[in-house]
Amino acid sequence: MAVIQATPELLRPSDIDHAFRDPYALSSRTRGISWVGLFAILAAFPLVFTNPAVTSVAVFTMFFLLATVAWNLFSGYSGYISIGHAVYYGLGQYTVALLVLHLHIAAGAGELGVLPLAGLVAAAGAVPVGLLVLRVRRHTFIVLTIAVMFIFQLLAFNFPSITGGSTGLNVPPPAWSPYSYNLPFYYVALGTAILALLTSWGIRRSKFGLGLLAIRDDEDRAKGLGIKVTRAKLIALVISAFYVGIAGGLYAVFVGQVFPQFAFTPFYDLYLAVFSFVGGLGTLAGPVLGALVLGPLQQYFEIQFGATTLYLIIYGVLFILILLLLPRGVVPSISDRYRSMLAAHWRKTGRGPATQGGSSLSQGPATGPAPAPAMPAEPIVREGA
């Protein structure tokens, strides 16, 4: 029997690329072009559709896009579903409102200028909150995040000398022309969303991100492989909170008012979670798709049926329908369907990578043809789609 060389000759990178290539994956060029195309369309949108009623929906959608990408960067990767991100949303809102009030910042661009501070305060808030809620595992974590969120709401109600209590705080609206009023908000949110997406992408390809995915799949084993799980989760949470805090700050300036029950609201996280789930939890494109499609839909329902909570019911029904039809979210489902179609096509045409991936370099044991991967009982989501 051949003895394996313990120190192999160094392999050429191209050999490895060839061996490790995911035969179904879109080429990085295709993916790059799709992303650039998508953001070009988003950048052009408010210049084409100038009706303020439309652009106002678009602004809120950008806020959602930013926050959903940020939410997914923690909850999607680590598998810890947070229903308490409104804490950071609210912190961002109050930070901007209080800074504007006490530093006498003039209405206008200056208000948008303090947004990074809103992000930093939210991120700083995530440290103690995270140290508290990350002490427990998944299911308890969900409950604990909601509880902490309501504590913040109570605090906001009960310290009127600082927060204005139930009367809230005002953020004077910038005196911009009504025709272009929405544009700065739109572009600041879009730009920040792109930053958040780049952060998410960077995390996904780093060792740190790989550690987060490992935590999601099996936290105890991840620990045994040297991953500092608590630190990793906390860092992801802080980064996530930073962007959500900016989303909150943007919202405060745009709407002009901050109230405890709207700043620290459980609905906010339901939206972010639903957008991510429907699009594809833990993927890069999923939350983007979820926010861009469902964000406007959610607002449409709210405008149509806003006086009642009917819109929440309709929304819930839609969510359930999507989960029944595409249980793992749109992006992974489509990606899987595409894979099996491509595989079928390759089988028919007798072409494809199946015969090439084998290792010519291998002196390894003949394991025989690899068995076709058995379908696991629980559906498995493919990452990085």
């Binding site: 029997m1 492989l225 084998g358 370099l361 394991t367 068995p371 991967p373 379908m375």
Partner: protein, 257 residues
């Protein structure tokens, strides 16, 4: 020279005393076998040594330094890597990603920010995957692999981390015989380069052929240790494996009759 020293460890689960004053050593640079009947506490001992369980009393030391009660990531930092009896892989990550979780986490947070798939690391994982015959499935989700393949992937995942000691909990279960021989060869090759092994295994032929030294556990205690021949001939070992269990079965049958 002993690398891992276990001193008087006790661990109880409710009324069950999984470990009951267990004292044993695993020697540096050797392939140490750990055998014993089902329920004798082998897996529990692994759990205590690697930080997954806190012992009720007793000490664990590696290279003379106490590691009792350290968390699993710290124990890994001391150079101990392990596999699990019930195979644990990361099901929703690809095969390559699985390998890289363990690879080279030493460099502090700066290195955490670097790409997990650098050329150097991929070259290493390619070699390891070739060895276990999983190269073709590199981009497949680990959860889609067969049980035996998952077992191999788990082994590969710890191998690539190059710890000082590798603790294997039943590596042979469900792996085909050809590959098993290969696994043994690989363990010996790594051992030749200085890696210490502790292997729990019920396949006696595998254990006796592979290990330099074998420890036997029974009811949460070490009952004997030595080279394979000595252990094989020890009457206490036969007693542990056949005696009590057989007597209990006889008793049970007698009661039924």
């Amino acid at each position: 020279m002993s690398l891992i020293e276990v001193q008087d460890i006790a661990k109880a689960y409710g009324g069950i005393r999984a470990l009951d004053g267990c004292t044993m050593t695993f020697e540096s640079g050797k392939i140490n076998g750990l055998i014993g009947p089902n329920g004798s506490g082998k897996t529990t001992l692994f759990n205590v040594v690697t930080g997954y369980e806190r012992p009720d009393r007793g000490q664990v030391a590696v290279n003379g330094e106490g590691i009792t009660g350290l968390s699993p990531d710290k124990v890994f930092g001391r150079g101990l890597g392990r596999t699990f009896q019930l195979t644990r892989i990361f099901p929703r990550m690809t095969v390559v990603e699985n390998l890289h979780v363990a690879a080279q986490r030493a460099g502090g947070f700066r290195s955490e920010l670097s790409r997990w798939s650098s050329t150097e690391e991929r070259s290493k994982s390619k070699e390891v995957l070739d060895f276990v015959g999983l190269t073709r499935l590199a981009a497949e989700l680990a959860g889609n692999l067969s049980y035996g393949q998952q077992k191999l992937l788990e082994f590969a995942g710890i191998m690539i981390a190059e710890p000082q000691v590798i603790l294997l909990d039943e590596p042979a279960g469900g792996v085909n015989p050809t590959l098993l021989t290969h696994l043994a060869t690989r363990i010996q090759a790594l051992n030749g380069q200085g890696t210490t092994f502790v292997v729990v295994e019920h396949d006696m032929e595998f254990v006796m052929g592979l290990c330099h030294r074998v420890c036997v556990m029974h009811q949460g205690r070490a009952i004997c240790a030595g080279d394979p021949e000595t252990v094989r001939a020890d009457p206490m070992v036969l007693e542990a494996y056949l005696g009590t269990d057989m007597r209990e079965i006889d008793d049970a049958e007698a009661e039924v009759v």
